[in-house]
């Protein structure tokens, strides 16, 4: 019997590690660190099992199934802390002991520091049923490949080609601390992303949610094919200032770097950025509400962070006014702000607090384009980077299906164009907010997501030189 014959058909997605094994590893690591002399210890385990089907034109070119996990232990001695991480769960206790040894060595070399805060004790599962959706778990490789085939076929029927990715994942997080925190939660994730190209016309769609049903792939495919076809025959966009309708993905793009404008505990503690310098000021129109909301219905809600702190909703722009900042335990202590459950540890970066569930509230304006006499519709923004955090200025470009708007109707498709704009400035000129929201992942942020509706902005400048 060959290997293929012995391989079972697709199984529903399961978590990478599982509750019992994850908590057991965390407890072993913490106990060993404390036994080795650490004053304090904590551990978390992130697990992820994911299946990706990436397709282009007529083939699946990147199928990937990944089962991964990381156990990270933090041990503290005389206020000096060291973190040690491993994928080897059989070494959990050894890693805990090693973290304690490292912390003691740091304290011996550099002396003590004031002891930082700890998350308040809480025990039990975070078994929110809305986080685990069976339909998402059952979206196996065969089903995703079939969806990709249908999408590629639809694009071919329109005389074009489809490029995209569909994936599902199971995310889990366990946290244990010496002060009595014991938490575990698991969550599914379904994500679709698609670009259709017809001649020189392109259109893009993406959405991510705990539930596959929210994505509505069939409708998204039909709409994206239709828009790509309509976007054929692009002309260059003359430099100038336009009334623009930003689609939901473009609005989300405008918000994805909001942390850089000072909405974190670190920035508040350093005395820089919006919350430190402009708290309470009306910086955008009152209709704009932006929060970091780990309890949001859309996107990738999750109940607690890597330190075991409950993740709470933090208003960032509260009815247009600069409001709060997200924190982890360290930045909460430094800034005097409350812990909000936004600890994050990214590769090649220092641990820091980060907004991971950026949510802009939807409005009720059904047809934003109808309110533009002469202007522009922008579907998607691309390669955004901060030029000046103080003025909240970004540079980037438009991408995919963008059109001139004349007398309230989309007319001539236009090519991508560059812009440099202030985010607060643009959101300060919003006079319409759409009802529908799309969610997109935040790159390099664990479980990160930004969800936003379309907005109409009066006066948005495109062009490089002023």
């Amino acid at each position: 019997m060959s290997t293929v014959d012995r391989i079972a058909p697709g199984q529903p997605l399961e978590v990478a590690v599982g509750r019992d094994r994850a908590l057991e590893a965390c407890h072993a690591a913490v106990a060993a660190a404390l036994a080795a002399g650490a004053d304090r210890a904590s551990a978390f385990l992130t697990g992820r099992r994911s299946g990706y089907t990436r397709f282009a034109v007529d083939r699946v070119h990147q199928p990937q199934d990944i089962r991964e996990w990381t156990l990270m232990v933090r041990a503290e001695s005389d206020g000096r802390a060291s973190r040690v991480a491993t994928t080897d769960l059989t070494a959990a206790a050894a890693v805990g002991g090693r973290a304690a040894d490292r912390a003691r060595a740091l304290a011996a070399a550099f002396g003590s520091l004031p002891v930082g805060p700890a998350a308040p004790a809480v025990a039990g599962d975070d078994a929110d049923a809305s986080l685990w959706v069976d339909e998402s778990a059952h979206w196996d490789t065969a089903a995703r490949t079939a969806a990709a085939r249908r999408t590629m076929d639809a694009a071919v029927r329109a005389g074009g080609a489809a490029y995209g990715m569909v994936h599902h994942a199971a995310t889990e997080l366990a946290v244990v601390t010496g002060e009595g925190v014991e938490r575990y939660a698991r969550a599914t994730e379904a994500h679709g992303s698609l670009t259709v190209k017809v001649a020189d016309g392109t259109s893009h769609w993406t959405d991510v949610d705990r539930s596959l049903a929210v994505l509505d792939l069939e409708a998204a495919t039909a709409r994206t094919v239709r828009e790509a076809d309509a976007a054929k025959g692009r002309i260059d966009l003359p430099d100038g200032t336009y009334d623009v309708v930003l689609g939901p993905l473009a609005t989300g793009g405008l918000l994805e770097r909001i942390a850089a404008f000072g909405f974190t505990g670190e920035a508040v503690a350093d005395g820089v950025g919006a919350v430190a310098r402009r708290r309470g000021q009306q910086v955008v129109v009152p209709e704009v509400d932006v929060a970091d909301d780990p309890t949001a219905r859309r996107g990738l809600p999750f109940p607690f962070d890597l330190e075991g702190t409950a993740s709470v909703r933090v208003p960032l722009l509260d009815r247009g006014r600069v409001a709060g900042a997200v924190t982890d335990l360290a930045s909460a202590a430094r800034s005097g702000l409350p812990p909000t459950g936004h600890a994050h540890i990214a590769r090649e970066e220092t641990p820091h607090a980060v907004p991971a569930s950026i949510t802009m509230a939807a409005g009720s304006d059904e047809d934003l384009v109808a309110g533009v006499e002469r202007g522009l519709y922008v579907q998607r923004l691309w390669y955004l980077n901060v030029i000046d955090p103080e003025t909240t200025t970004l540079t980037g470009g438009s991408r995919d299906a963008c059109f001139l708007v004349e007398d309230g109707r989309l007319t001539q498709p236009v090519s991508p164009a560059r812009f440099s704009e202030s985010v607060f400035g643009a959101l300060g000129r919003v006079d319409g907010i759409g009802p529908d929201v799309l969610a997109q992942p935040l790159m390099n942020v664990w479980n990160g997501c930004v969800s936003a509706p379309a907005v109409r902005v009066r006066g948005f400048r495109f062009g490089g030189a002023r």
Binding site: V4, G10, D58, R67, V272, I345, T395, G464
Partner: protein
């Protein structure tokens, strides 16, 4: 194939997978589990990595992190369809099912994709051996006191000016065992060590906020090598300069708008090469595979071999055999031996960065640039060590040749469109140059243009004595993975560049 010599005794003797024979056993187990009807090709990669990161700041805290990962990724072709699966290793103390689990899931995944367009890999001769990065001083064996004393000295030096509000300094090291095997008979063992440092100083007053960095604003710099690389950076001296420059920038005049001649320093040129050459000539992008995410390219498949990409002063090579960068290796991540290639020869595009599959689709031979982020991801074309070949002369000679213009360096903001055509970069520093001499420091400098226009305007490149290389991460693929690569150049004279584009 072996390149030992000069290696500190401890540098490669850590971890469970230091033993090539044990690694081979796991790889063979994975390959055996792929043997099935219809499987025409299989390869497996086993990677064990450990990373050490230390950061400290002016506020006095110290963050130390050591991360260890190990896992296996298996790739198969079944009836012309790819399958790939990756699983973390459970650990040496347990009965590890990861090789078999990854192999079986890879086959299952490929079967689901059968019936679509077929992938054909051209035949290849096997290549086997062991390769180690030469290391003089094992960075993991450096005493805590030495490391931390250096960090403290750096922070003190950068913090000296009163206007400096925040300083972050960091040291990092990474070591890896990367093992590869395939159904064609290759068995490869690479043992890598990297070392690096980062420094950023932020000065602020009522007029605004300014930042300076060293050795490079984007994650500092890391090299393939040991602690000797960090010692060679002269960090305390450079830290004092960085703190002073950040402060001087607060009162520096705003850089102007218009059109000007520029000499661009190596730290900024590294990013210019990366964004407007490296990504643009990845063959999978040219063929459309990245259209949905990272974007396509202004280069067409038929352009490779004849497209005028830049001026005759522009020769850009891919050289993974050049020592000391993060784009240095002996085999890429699908087992192709490292070879120096000329990508752009005196301004003409001769070759793309490719994998076996993308090269076959374009009826070319691979340039050996299939690379992946550890064990968990499928290899895709990433840059290797891609650099602009030096020309002649010193930086002062190049400034004199320019006459009037600006000398700019080190990136502060960057963006390029999805075809890698229209770009806009800001730099941390700029100096006015008049009559070939550096004058005033300016703040808020930026420039923009289009790729062929920019490279076509390169008039001269300084000599090898001014050459600097930088290791950097970059993102690509869905799921997004970090590619680690090297770019370098000498200062480069470019005529007629649009400046002051940020407004």
């Amino acid at each position: 194939m072996s390149r030992p010599g000069g290696t500190a005794p401890t540098a490669h003797a850590w971890g469970d997978l230091a033993d090539d024979a044990r690694a081979c056993g796991l790889l063979d187990e994975a390959l055996a589990a792929t043997e099935a009807r219809g499987v025409t090709f299989a390869d497996a990669r086993l990677v064990e990595a450990e990373e050490l990161r230390l950061y400290t700041s002016r506020a006095g805290g110290l963050d130390e992190r050591r991360e260890h990962t190990a896992g296996i990724g298996v790739r198969v072709l079944v009836d012309g369809a790819w399958g790939f699966a990756a699983v973390a290793l459970a650990g040496p103390g347990s009965s590890d099912r990861a090789p078999r689990e990854a192999a079986e899931q890879a086959v299952r995944s490929a079967l689901a994709g059968a019936g679509l367009a077929r992938t054909e890999l051209p035949a290849r001769e096997s290549s086997s051996g062991r390769w180690e990065v030469p290391v003089e001083v094992d960075p993991f064996a450096v005493p805590d006191e030495e490391r931390h004393a250096l960090l403290q000295e750096v922070v003190r030096a950068a913090s000296a000016p009163q206007a400096v509000r925040a300083v972050t300094a960091g040291l990092n090291a990474k070591r890896q065992h990367r093992h590869y095997a395939d159904s064609e008979g290759s068995r490869q063992h690479q043992h890598l060590v990297e070392s690096g440092a980062v420094l950023q100083a932020v000065a602020a007053d009522e007029s605004g906020v300014q930042r300076r960095s060293y050795p490079n604003s984007f994650h500092g710099n890391t090299a393939a090598g040991g602690w000797e690389y960090v010692l060679g950076l002269s960090l305390p001296t450079e830290a004092a300069r960085v703190g002073e420059e950040a402060t001087r920038l607060l009162t520096a005049p705003q850089a102007p708008s218009g059109t000007a001649d520029l000499v661009i320093g190596p730290a900024q040129m590294a990013l210019q090469i990366h964004e407007s050459v490296g990504h643009a000539i990845e063959l999978d992008r040219i063929l459309g595979d990245e259209t949905n995410f990272a974007g396509a390219s202004w280069v067409q498949p038929s352009d490779v071999g004849s497209l005028r990409y830049g001026s005759p002063a522009v020769t850009i090579v891919s050289d993974p055999t050049a020592p000391g960068t993060r784009g240095t290796f002996a085999w890429d991540d699908e087992g192709t031996p490292a070879v120096r290639r000329t990508l752009i020869e005196e301004g003409v595009l001769r070759e793309a960065l490719s994998s076996r599959e993308s090269a076959a689709r374009a009826a070319r031979t691979t340039s050996g640039a299939a690379r992946s982020d550890g064990w968990a991801y499928l290899p895709v074309p990433f840059a290797t060590n891609v650099y602009l070949e030096p020309g002649r002369g010193s930086l002062p000679e190049l400034l004199e040749r320019m006459g009037d213009g600006y000398y700019v360096d080190d990136n502060s903001s960057w963006s390029i469109d999805d075809r890698r055509m229209a770009f806009q970069f800001g730099t941390e520093v700029a100096w006015e140059v008049r009559g070939g001499r550096r004058g005033r420091l300016l703040r808020g400098f930026s420039y923009g243009g289009t790729t062929p226009q920019f490279w076509g305007s390169v008039e001269a490149v300084a000599g090898p004595e001014e050459f600097r290389a930088f290791g950097m991460p970059c993102g690509k693929g869905e799921p997004k993975q970090w590619g680690f690569l090297g770019h370098g150049s000498s200062p480069t004279l470019v005529r007629g560049v649009r400046i002051g584009v940020m407004g």
